[in-house]
Amino acid sequence: MSRFPDTRTLLLIVLCFTTLALALGDPFWLAAVLALALAALAAMGISPARLGRRLKRYRGLFLVLVLAQSLTNSSGRVFLEWRGHVLLSSGGVQAAAAAVLRIAVILAAAMFLSRRNYQELVTALVQLRVPYELAYMVLLGVRFIPVFMEEFRTALTAIQLRGVDLDKVPLGRKIRIYSYILMPAVAGALIRARRVAVAMEARAFRARPRRTWLEWPRLHRRDWLLMAAAVAATAAVLALYWR
């Protein structure tokens, strides 16, 4: 049984949106692309509210990005100046908005795959002629990022529960503490990775050069049409933008 759209079609759509996100520099164009992505997600039954939650998680990063952009870009009308240094200009605001929107588009694009599980993604990559060891490894790597972050947060809590007031510790010692915390997070992640590797070998991963697949979805005409439409739309947007 095949689902529509096929995972490969979704991968192509993700690729199209990320290309646009990276190629476009104008905040208005990026906003339009974001709107398009959200509409497409909604059409697939994926709520745009989830993007909001993801964006919230990265708000610290955004702030840094916005500040960096607006401080380093002094083109256009100047709004705020201090001793000859431009602090805020229309060019800076535009650059900051573009940077934030760019990340939003990329995060939204990734959400197209949120309804697909690892097995489906690996199958799709293999169908695109990516060696399956590589496909598994890439996806496992991606899977370990949140695990690693979680580990780091737990270690941070654990160390404070041992009576260490991170807010009151001088900087030099703080750095030492952070290196302490990194240790269990890295060790934990490595130990877990090794466990997964052993578990996979124990289940005969890579024991034979060829493997069979429980599902080998086929591309339907609808998929080809959707892919063609996505590529054509992307090309059209780029052509208009660069005209």
Partner: protein, 217 residues
């Protein structure tokens, strides 16, 4: 005397919508010893984390020594209430067993000689001397369990929450742990033991409650 740990109509659900606690009331004095029982997934660990303020209740109040637990910094909470994680691995961060136990002492103004003495004492008590320089992650489960306890005991907290401390311990080690907790109790330090081990709880705790359907009985 006012209560040391005081939970009032505490409700808790996970963001996924799963409701774990439905109106839990619990009042404990500083020297109380309580066994918290309940089947797998009944929310015992969740309740422990709520008391430590690691999770925030959806509704209700959690107070520590008369003040909302969130008003204390993590470090203050940790110094007053020792918490032994269900998965002891989660609380290790030092490169050696001895460091793991001595870690917090160094930050609390003990001299290196004092730290060394205290660490040696705890290592001996928990029979971990031969692993003093070993990497905590490489210990066996029972050894990790003992190390986690030793590290928390090093802080000399006023109260301790132990999440399934007896799992993975053999009979002799368990007896030893019982002796240790009895000693702690005699010093007027109270504890909550989260456990399925009836025999263990019966020997150590004056009272017992069971978590069922999100309520204490």
């Amino acid at each position: 005397m006012s209560a040391f740990i005081d939970l009032e109509q505490v409700w808790f659900s996970w963001p996924s919508g799963r409701e774990v606690l439905r109106g839990v009331d619990l009042t404990l004095q500083r020297n109380d010893t309580l066994a918290l029982m309940g089947s797998n997934g009944s929310g015992k660990t969740t309740l422990g984390k709520l008391i430590m303020g690691l999770l925030q209740p959806t509704a209700g109040k959690v107070c520590l020594d008369g003040r909302p637990v969130q008003e204390y910094s993590l470090a203050e909470r940790g110094r007053r209430v020792g918490y032994v994680f269900q998965n002891p691995e989660r609380q290790f961060f030092a490169a050696s067993v001895a460091d793991e136990i001595g870690f917090a002492l160094g930050f609390r103004g003990f001299s290196p000689a004092e730290v060394e003495e205290r660490v040696a004492e705890l290592l001996a008590f928990f029979e971990l001397e031969q692993y003093a320089q070993a990497f905590p992650f490489h210990l066996s489960h029972g050894e990790k369990q003992r190390l986690a306890l030793a590290a928390v005991m090093a802080l000399e907290p006023e109260f301790i929450i132990l999440d399934e401390p007896s799992t993975g311990l053999d009979w002799a080690r368990k007896n030893k742990l019982i002796k240790a907790l009895e000693g702690i109790r005699e010093r007027g330090v109270g504890y909550i033991i989260i456990s399925h081990d009836h025999e263990f709880c019966r020997r150590l705790c004056r009272s017992a409650v069971t978590l069922k359907g999100g309520r204490l009985t």
